[in-house]
Symmetry: C2
Subunit: 208 residues, 2 copies
C-alpha cells in the first residue's frame, strides 16, 4: 500500500451518481476554493467541442487505454456507456509528490474503493440529491432519454448509493450554494486535521 508522504496535499474523492447535480457543484466549488484542482482522468472517448487535452481529460485511443490497463497504470478505471475512463497512478503520484496541491477526484464507488485501498488518508464524500423523488424527477426531466434508459440510470444510481456506508461524509444537494459551502467546510476541516498539520505543530512546539 503506497502512503502519501507527510504534509502532502489532500485527495478529496467525490462520488455523485447521475441526478445529483455534481457538475454545478464542481463549477461553484472551483470558484469558492481556488486551491483545489481536479485530478485529470484518461478517457478513450473523443474530445467534445471546447474540451482540451491535459485540461479536461487526457484523450487517448482505446488501444492506448487497453495497453495502460494491461500495464496496471490505472489506480481505477471503468467503462461507462461504451467509453473507458481511468485515473492514472502516475498522475496521482505526481500530485502526491508536489505536496501542497489538493485534488478532487470524481469517481464512482468502485473507483473510490480502489483509491481508498491505495490512499487510505484520502477523504471520501458522497453527494446525494435531496430525496428519492427528486432523483427520479431529475433523471426524467432531461427529456432526451427513453423510459428504459431512465430506468437503467436510476437503477445504476441506486446501486451506487448503496455503497455510501463506507464514505466519510454525505452532502445532500438540496440547495446548490449550501451544498458547495458544506463541501468547502469538509475540505477546510480535513485540511486542519492534526495528522495533516504535523509540520506546523512541530514548528510550534520546537519554537521555544
Amino acid at each position: 500500500m503506497s502512503k502519501l508522504p507527510r504534509g502532502t496535499g489532500l485527495f478529496l474523492v467525490v462520488s455523485a451518481p447521475s441526478g445529483t447535480g455534481k457538475t454545478s457543484i464542481y463549477k461553484e466549488l472551483m470558484k469558492q476554493c481556488p486551491h483545489i484542482q481536479f485530478s485529470i482522468s484518461h478517457t478513450s472517448r473523443p474530445p467534445r467541442r471546447g474540451e482540451v487535452h491535459g485540461r479536461d481529460y487526457f484523450f487517448v485511443s482505446r488501444d492506448e487505454f487497453d495497453v495502460m490497463i494491461q500495464r496496471e497504470e490505472f489506480v481505477e478505471w471503468a467503462e461507462n456507456y461504451g467509453q473507458l475512463y481511468g485515473t492514472s497512478r502516475a498522475v496521482l503520484e505526481t500530485l502526491a509528490r508536489e505536496g501542497d496541491k489538493d485534488v478532487i477526484l470524481d469517481v464512482d464507488p468502485l473507483g473510490a474503493k480502489a483509491i481508498k485501498d491505495r490512499y487510505p488518508q484520502a477523504v471520501f464524500v458522497f453527494i446525494l440529491p435531496p430525496s428519492f423523488e427528486e432523483l427520479k424527477r431529475r433523471l426524467t426531466m432531461r427529456g432526451q432519454d427513453d423510459e428504459e434508459t431512465i430506468s437503467t440510470r436510476f437503477n445504476h444510481a441506486m446501486v451506487e448509493i448503496n455503497e455510501i456506508g463506507w464514505y466519510d461524509y454525505v452532502v445532500f444537494n438540496d440547495d446548490l450554494p449550501d451544498a458547495v459551502s458544506l463541501l468547502c467546510s469538509i475540505y477546510r476541516a480535513e485540511k486542519n486535521r492534526v495528522m495533516r498539520k504535523k509540520t506546523e505543530i512541530n514548528k510550534f512546539i520546537n519554537g521555544r
Copy 2:
C-alpha cells in the same frame, strides 16, 4: 464504555491552554452557530458578579463537590488554582438523550481524554496560538501576574500542548474571525459524517 444513542447531538470537546484566546473564540462561535450550546460544568468556586447558577456553572460547595467525586458523578474533574471544576455524567447523559443538541465541552487534555474514553464518537479540537512567541507574549501582557506565575502558566500550557497528538483537529488562533470560521467548518463537516446522517440516508434509500 457508554455509547451515545444513534442520531444524537455532537459533543465537540475543545482544549485551549491559557493564552490561546479561547474566551473570544467561544463568544463569537455562539453568535455564528446558535445551535451549539455549552455543557455546563460544576464548580466549587463562588460565583463572580453576573454569573448565574445553571447558566454559567452549577455552583456547589467544596463538600458537595467532594461527595460527587466519591459517587463518581463526574466524567472528568480537575483542580485549578485551588478550585474544583467538573463535567457531570448526568448533564452529559441528559444532553445525549435529548438527541438533537450539540454541545461544546471546554476541558483540559486530561479531562478530554476521560471524555474520549467514555464517548469515542466525540470530536476533539485543540486551539493553539499562532506561535510560541505569541503564546509567551499573550501570557506576559496580562500585566497582572509576577514572573513566577507567568512561568508556571507557560510551562503548564506547554505540558498541555504536548497532548495535541491524539486530537482530531487543530485551530491556530492567528486571526479571530478565521479561527471561529474554521471551528464552524469543523462542526459542520462533522455533523455531515455518514455515521451521523444514518437516519437521513436510510430515509432516502427506503424512500422508493
